[in-house]
């Protein structure tokens, strides 16, 4: 335990990013993720890094584009309304095949919404967010330890696949403190022969761009990108299974909803109900395999979300709609209680016996 420290989720992200070699952070303050920027503001100047509070979210994401073009690890963070502003940049990053880490500590929406926790940016994150055909790797931490671990993982995946990784957290994950170990084995950053680092008159110019006026060429790049996405879908899905093996009822939940659901699953098990939990850790790629497998024996699925029902669509797709899926949710900054989830489980089990 001696090596563990108590940290807020937001701080854990910032420290893990620094450990992963990120020396460039651009952001604009917004609750509930401001601690990421505050931490970076304090630390970056001391380690020769760059912290810059941009004039807007749009400026920040384009600074990310610039630094990423040079091959350096770079990140930005925001919360829901700010991510909407960054969405144009996210599309451009995808179009130029640039790696970057984006953090979304979600709050209630739509619009300015509120500042309390939410998961209602699931569609925006998993379907890309901006215009055009593209994906981001979307990582959903459910503890402060995972906030740190998935930050490191996010940089590594981004560099490996030349694409954007997003940490999709929520206000609770950002604000809560838990013990965290920051003892990471950082893999070497892959070579980036495409980066614009200056030719030194020794090679051809590298060009980073998302504009293709030839439709044939643009179609080809889209096809190639989706080959890559297919590979990622087959190889990078992450999830946690909890008591799913013999389950009649399977709860699907990520992030804070999974934490709450685990309490309910334990309580329901104590009452003799065969219930389990599948917690997607990557939301894109969505972990289809465990859902397909569970659908062979489970009679009902419950999607627990802090949204009006977004992940539920992926649960239905993953199970080919073979098994009924119901929604158990709270929105607008409210969080389902373990009792509410338990009630949904009991109901799925056929009501109080």
């Amino acid at each position: 335990m001696a090596d563990k420290v108590l940290m807020k989720g937001n701080e854990a992200i910032a420290e893990a990013a620094i450990i992963a070699g990120c020396r460039h952070y651009f952001g604009y303050p917004i609750t509930p993720q401001t601690e990421v920027a505050a931490y970076m503001a304090k630390k970056m100047p001391k380690i020769g890094g760059c912290f810059l509070q941009a004039e807007s979210e749009i400026a920040a994401i384009n600074m990310v584009y610039g630094v990423s073009s040079t091959g350096k690890r770079v990140m930005t963070s925001s919360s829901s309304p700010g991510i909407s502003l960054k969405s144009e940049g996210l599309s451009y990053l995808a179009g130029a095949d640039l790696p970057a880490l984006i953090v979304n500590v979600q709050r209630g929406g739509p619009g300015l919404g509120g500042i309390q926790p939410s998961q209602s940016d699931y569609f925006q994150a998993t379907r890309g967010g901006g215009h055009g055909d593209y994906h981001m790797i979307v990582l959903a931490p459910a503890s402060v330890q995972e906030m740190a671990e998935l930050t490191v993982k996010g940089f590594e995946l981004a560099d490996t696949y030349r694409m954007t990784s997003m940490i999709l957290a929520d206000g609770t994950m950002g604000q809560m403190m838990e013990p965290v170990s920051l003892d990471f084995d950082i893999k070497p950053v892959p070579e980036k022969p495409w980066a614009t680092t200056g030719t030194k008159m020794e090679r051809e110019h590298n060009i980073v761009n998302s504009l293709y006026l030839s439709p044939e060429k643009l179609e080809e790049t889209n096809f190639e990108r989706y080959e890559k996405y297919k590979y990622i879908e087959e190889n990078e899905a992450m999830y946690e299974e909890y008591m799913v093996e013999d389950a009649d009822i399977v709860v699907a939940a990520f992030g804070i909803a999974a934490r709450v659901s685990k309490n309910a699953v334990n309580e329901a098990r104590a009452r003799g109900i065969k219930v389990g939990l599948i917690r997607p850790i990557t939301l894109w790629p969505f972990p289809v395999a465990p859902f397909k497998k569970a659908a062979e024996h489970a009679k009902k699925f419950i999607s627990v979300e802090l949204s009006m029902g977004q992940m539920i669509e992926d649960v239905k797709l993953a199970t080919d709609c073979k098994v009924p899926v119901t929604l158990c949710n709270r929105v607008g900054g409210m969080i389902p209680s373990p009792e509410q989830v338990l009630e949904a489980i009991v109901e799925a089990d056929g009501g109080v016996k």
Binding site: L6, T172, M177, E178, P179, R259, N263, N266, S337, P338
Partner: protein
């Protein structure tokens, strides 16, 4: 298996979040699983502030405390708001300087500590939360100076390191209060 859920509540500025952090660090030092979750609304100063702390032998599930085993109420609105949420058989610690009424429940154990008055009399008006924490740890049978000192060392910033002994003394004051 043992899990204790704490809810700290009071005015912003009373050190509610600090108290919770101190307890969480003590739990970490005692090799427990811990979580700490603050309210982070726009009510930081003057309004209500609260935080959820869970100390457990097992991994912590939901970090949100809605039915506390232990409620620490440092002002009347906090007691009004959370009194009914405490589990039967739970414990309420109330700063009786600021809370004039008695707890209505008869199925919980209540400790009234005039923490704000004790803090003022002691010449440390900002340490009412720490005095109350002394009482809490004493009641829970968890007051050993080594880990308390270590936990204080973690939550008091280096800039205020000289405050450690003052805090420890305040905590002892609360622990000794009958």
């Amino acid at each position: 298996m043992s899990t204790k859920q704490f809810l700290f509540s009071g005015f912003g500025g009373q050190g509610i979040l600090f108290s919770g952090k101190l307890l969480a660090y003590k739990g970490l030092i005692d090799e427990k699983q811990v979580s700490w979750l603050p309210s982070y609304g726009p009510e930081m100063r003057g309004g209500t502030a609260s935080c959820s702390v869970i100390i457990s032998d097992d991994p912590v599930g939901s970090p949100i405390v809605s039915k506390p085993d232990v409620l620490v109420a440092m002002n009347l609105p906090s007691l009004d708001k959370y009194e009914d949420a405490v589990v039967p058989g739970g414990i309420i610690f109330a700063d009786s300087t600021l809370i004039e009424r008695k707890v209505k429940r008869d199925d919980v154990t209540v400790y009234y500590v005039p923490a704000t008055k004790l803090a003022n009399d002691n010449g440390t008006p900002t340490l009412a939360n720490i005095i109350l924490m002394g009482k809490i740890l004493n009641v829970l049978g968890n007051f050993d100076e080594t880990s308390v000192r270590a936990a204080l060392g973690k939550v008091i910033s280096a800039r205020h390191a000289d405050m450690l002994e003052v805090n420890l003394k305040a905590m002892q004051l609360g622990a000794d209060y009958e």
